[in-house]
Symmetry: C3
Subunit: 316 residues, 3 copies
């Protein structure tokens, strides 16, 4: 898409040469053929080193835009991200893509739907009601139980097992809200990548990234009814127990254990080998690895035990 | 159904003219061709102004029944509601209804099931494994991702998006329990109405009303794994984050934000523009709009912060 | 499978006569043609009276093995359970089984998949997208709403109703973790038995037992988005409200009420007629029946109310 056309859509103009823009991305990750944006002061630090081709920016931040980027000046950059995201959204299904490729030895139920452009590896078992979206790639020796849904552009590694009614790659929960309180969808044009040897329970939901990728790393175990928000990264061999959840953009190190009904807020980093008791509520990053936590607000598990004994005394 | 027949089913008789009864409803909402009931002293205030044609009532409340209503006297009115609810339950599917109507430009997967009597608007995308029940109406430009289930008699407005494995219009959690502790199902003969411009995540469950309607108003955003109980009303542009839940008959004003894993008890009213932090537990109605809350029991967010600092001191 | 072969797989030998082993089971429940294991000191008490044919045991516990059992000595018995579990796992589907039997008066959607070896009783309604696995048995007068999944070898009693997108018999969350932090799947070769007159909501997950059976007893009511772990037993007429969860091997007496978002830890026993308020967290067995509890940590409801009033004072 031409940047001139983008400027027209968001109701502005720019001076300088026109360029081709292929997608939207964060300041940190955008390339010279991508457009980025500043939606929050939190990300202003990223603007200096961005390699984005263009940036949606409001009046007051224009001067921060490096000379290598074209500034597209709008009133509400985040709202215009929402507007533009729709233009970059691929079709849900695309008949012009080639028929799905199915690897040798794989058994696909005739009640499963494998969209054009999808690829399934060798020796897979794909049961009734499974849906694999356009351009998604399933590895070898994968078992997909009935009614598993994998949206388009996602990857599932080798030797993975995904249980019934689970959804991989549904849209992340993203929208821009205007002054009237109305929400405009931010199309989630990223994807999900699940590495090898992962097992995921039933009715679990793993959202696709808004830009880039939601990662489930090698050997992870996810139980039933678990939520993983967009752009999260779940480290190798981590364990998420039933009904736990992680908000968007949080990154877990390896061998994290998240107990049942525990939850982690968005945009955090959790050091490897951290353990969280059931129903922990984590709202800050964890820097030191190997510790055990509990409670909400979160505290070290031994402190939590002391708190409970204090509370017991209070009641006497 | 004749009221004489109803009296026979619940093991009683009544004096006066027979009338036709078309359904069961609450005292507040019942019309002259509906039967209502008093199951709890909480609703006695509604009996005076009811326009119900007949009322299931126990001995001790007979005298409250207005002269315009026929009293059907039984030992346990709520139990008899359960008994009768089955008689008023429509068939799950009905072959005698006309074939589904599909609007121009809509693309329906041949692996989707659109029951007789259903209507789908223009330019919809209905993917594999979707089920649309009898007499349900889907608006224009709607996207239903794989394995979405819409039970019979529900409505989905224009421009809605519903993600994979979500269920609209499943039965509310309703039953009458006898003295032996056994439960008898109350058939949920109401429906769900979703207005325009609503987006709903994956594996979310929105229950149909027992009588009347569960409403999801215009522009609402609901995330994954969210529970909405029967007869709730979610106000315009409200936001429900993942794994939050609302028990039956609670009414939310517009632009409520319910954080992740937060929950609201049943039969409450929540003032517009209220914000609830993640894991809030709301057990009382909120009368004043525009405030921010946290905790369980619920308190204003600034008070909750103070409580946490007190607890931190307690631990020193 | 010959015990000699088993010894070979786990990299050891044994002296004595070879025997046939048909499955893995707990010390308490194993028969003379089953192999058991000691994975935790908690179960050492069960070894004395076990009737297992053989036991996976480490060096230090050899002397506890009764003379009636053959000791299979390995370094990490639990890890070897994982290894062996795969050998005893049945095929997901088995074309050599006879075609499914469908009882008189049952209406099965042609978009449902009933695997070979399955049996469906009389007068059932099985809607589109339902999957019934090999050898599973559905009783009479059962309603299975769209996209319900029942894995192989499970039983659903008479007059049951299961709502859309619910999964019965998915694998329990079981794995052995080695010193490198890598997980090895323990195949869940048990099943789920749901007795008569049970109703289960939408997007609920009930896991199959690792060995033996997960039981949902007569008349139970389970709401939407509920988790029941492997080897649980839910007593007659118990009620589980939406988003509640029970970890593995916990046994509930009859007429338990578990409020919304409440959770029970694993390996507990809960006395009959116990009531747990919404979001209770139960980490210890309840011995006395008929009481009402709240909070996390759990306390009697009246104590919890007192605690809240103390906290309110603290804030003044």
């Amino acid at each position: 898409m031409k940047l001139k056309e983008i400027a027209r859509i968001v109701g502005t103009e720019f001076s300088g040469n026109d360029i081709d823009i292929v997608s939207i991305n964060t300041l940190q990750n955008a390339s010279s053929n991508e457009i980025s944006f500043i939606s929050s002061s939190k990300y202003i630090k990223d603007i200096k080193n961005t390699t984005a081709g263009a940036i949606l920016v409001d009046e007051k931040n224009i001067k921060l835009v490096p000379s290598s980027c074209i500034a597209i000046v709008v009133q509400n950059p985040y709202c215009e991200v929402a507007t533009l995201s729709k233009y970059f959204a691929p079709k849900i299904e695309d008949d012009s893509l080639p028929h799905a490729k199915i690897g040798e030895g794989s058994k696909i139920s005739d009640k499963a739907e494998i969209a054009n452009g999808a690829t399934i590896g060798k020796n897979c078992t794909v049961l009734a009601g499974v849906y694999i979206g356009a351009n998604s790639k399933i590895g070898d020796n994968v078992i997909l139980y009935p009614n598993v849904v994998v949206y388009r552009d996602c990857t599932v590694g080798n030797n993975c097992i995904i249980h019934a009614n689970t959804t991989i790659g549904g849209d992340g929960f993203g929208f821009a809200t205007n002054k009237l309180g109305e929400h405009k969808k931010i199309y989630q044009n990223g994807n999900v990548v699940i590495e090898d040897d992962v097992e995921i329970g039933s009715s679990t939901t793993i959202d696709r990234a808004v830009f880039g990728t939601t990662y489930i790393k090698k050997g992870v175990r996810i139980d039933n009814l678990v939520q993983v928000g967009h752009n999260c990264e779940i480290g190798e061999y981590s364990v998420m127990v039933s009904q736990s959840g992680i908000a968007g953009s949080t990154k877990l190190g390896r061998n994290i254990v998240l107990g049942g009904q525990a939850a982690i807020a968005g945009h955090l980093e959790i050091a490897p080998f951290s353990t969280f008791a059931a129903r922990s509520g984590i709202t800050k990053s964890i820097k030191e690895s190997g510790k055990t936590f509990a409670g909400f607000p979160l505290m070290e598990h031994r402190v939590w035990l002391r708190l409970q004994s204090k509370i017991a005394k209070l009641l006497k």
